[in-house]
């Protein structure tokens, strides 16, 4: 009988709340899109007008929404905090990010190897998310050809790396192995339309049309 394949062994994981506290302390004017369990814990450390709770906006599509925002608002970074279970719901998004992802998009993949919000059911054990992103063309890709994929396994490494991630062009796809030791606040669905209105207001969006990033005429490699 063959042995059951298991996930690559990673010896270090980051406490998710510590990660969130660290990110909140370093964040300046970035848009931060959260989904699933991140929507429950991020508000414990941040109440910023550019925080956007994507919960119930469409399963697996937080980074797609974030990409649209980043394309529309090139003057600032858009950071998406999403889980590995959500990524599996729209894996093709990685290919789209590898082709069109703008330099101001940063996806922080919170890898906990489970569907945490529904009770911790296990994810397929052998998927390597950084390798998937590389194979999808994110590394060296995106609309400016400056995409980067990396894995960060400690809070110290994240804190050292974050200023660079914030400064240099991406799109960035960063895998962060995390665990959570704290009780999750209850899910509270708030007004969908109100969340959108609030974010548009915080971004200063009026009736005037933004052209976003200019049309990319870069020839295909």
């Amino acid at each position: 009988m063959s042995s059951i394949p298991t996930a690559p062994r990673h010896h270090q994981v980051i406490d998710r709340m510590e990660l969130f506290r660290s990110l909140a302390a370093r964040r300046t004017d970035e848009i931060i899109v959260t989904t699933m369990t991140a929507t429950l814990q991020w508000p414990l450390v941040s109440q910023h007008p550019l925080d956007f709770d994507f919960l119930a906006f469409g399963m697996g599509h937080a980074s797609d929404f974030g990409m649209g925002l980043a394309l529309a608002r090139p003057e600032r970074k858009t950071i998406v905090l999403k889980g590995d279970g959500g990524l599996l719901m729209s894996l093709g998004s990685l290919v789209t990010m590898g082709r069109y992802g703008p330099g101001n998009l940063m996806v922080l993949l919170l890898e906990n190897r489970s569907y945490e919000i529904t009770g911790g059911q296990a994810l397929p054990p052998r998927a390597d998310f950084a390798a998937l992103a590389r194979a999808a063309g994110v590394e060296g890709g995106g609309r400016t050809g400056t995409g980067k994929v990396e894995r960060i396994e400690t809070l110290d490494a994240f804190e050292e790396r974050y200023p660079v991630l914030r400064r240099e062009p991406g799109p960035h796809f960063v895998v962060l192995p995390v665990h959570n030791a704290e009780p999750l606040p209850p899910v509270a669905h708030t007004d969908h339309a109100g969340r959108i209105r609030n974010l548009r207001s915080a971004l200063g969006v009026t009736g005037e049309v933004s052209q976003g990033t200019s049309k990319d005429r870069r020839p295909a490699p």
Binding site: D64, F65, G68, L71, T96, R200, G212
Partner: protein
């Protein structure tokens, strides 16, 4: 009366009329000439995701950020993208502009058997979502695009134009 089908140039001009900044589209047999025209256009950005749910979520992000995206989508893709449509447009009152290809329309009109199963569900599906729509069958109908744009804007809700013939070069 114009010949059947809509000219890609006419449709592209209609997209300019409503100040479209981005089109999210996956190519199909009916939209390919319009797809090519948008790709060649210097002002409208064409984004080709892998699946239609991505199209809708990206469009929602673009609109939230102040752009004016339009989703060019086949009826089959709209069926695939149901949860994204619910979560990223219907629920949060995002006035998504939809140009929907009606796969199966021509065969059904010609009474060709079997009827494409995508055909009979298209209008009931739009009605189930309460998405107003009008028909775009030839160049005489191109005003439907501006009407769809006004409806979406005034209602803060998605609105659609349904096209049954392939776009002409």
């Amino acid at each position: 009366m114009s010949e059947p089908g809509v000219s890609a140039a006419g449709a592209l001009a209609a997209l300019h009329t409503i100040a479209t900044t981005h089109v999210l589209a996956i190519p199909d047999s009916e939209n390919r000439h319009l797809y090519a025209a948008i790709d060649d256009d210097p002002d409208i950005e064409l984004i080709t995701p892998c699946r239609e749910g991505e199209s809708i979520a990206i469009a929602a992000g673009l609109w939230t950020g102040g752009c004016r995206p339009l989703v060019l989508i086949q009826n089959t893709g709209l069926m695939e993208a149901g949860d994204a449509l619910r979560g990223c447009s219907v629920g949060p009152s995002i006035p998504l502009r939809l140009l929907v290809g009606w796969r199966g329309y021509l065969g059904a009109r010609a009474r060709r058997i079997p009827i494409d199963s995508a055909y009979p569900f298209t209008e009931p599906l739009l009605r189930a979502w309460n998405i107003p729509y009008s028909l775009l069958m030839n160049d005489d109908d191109l005003g439907a695009v501006a009407e769809m744009d006004r409806t979406a804007e005034e209602s803060s809700y998605p609105a659609a134009v349904l096209f049954g013939n392939a776009f002409r070069p």
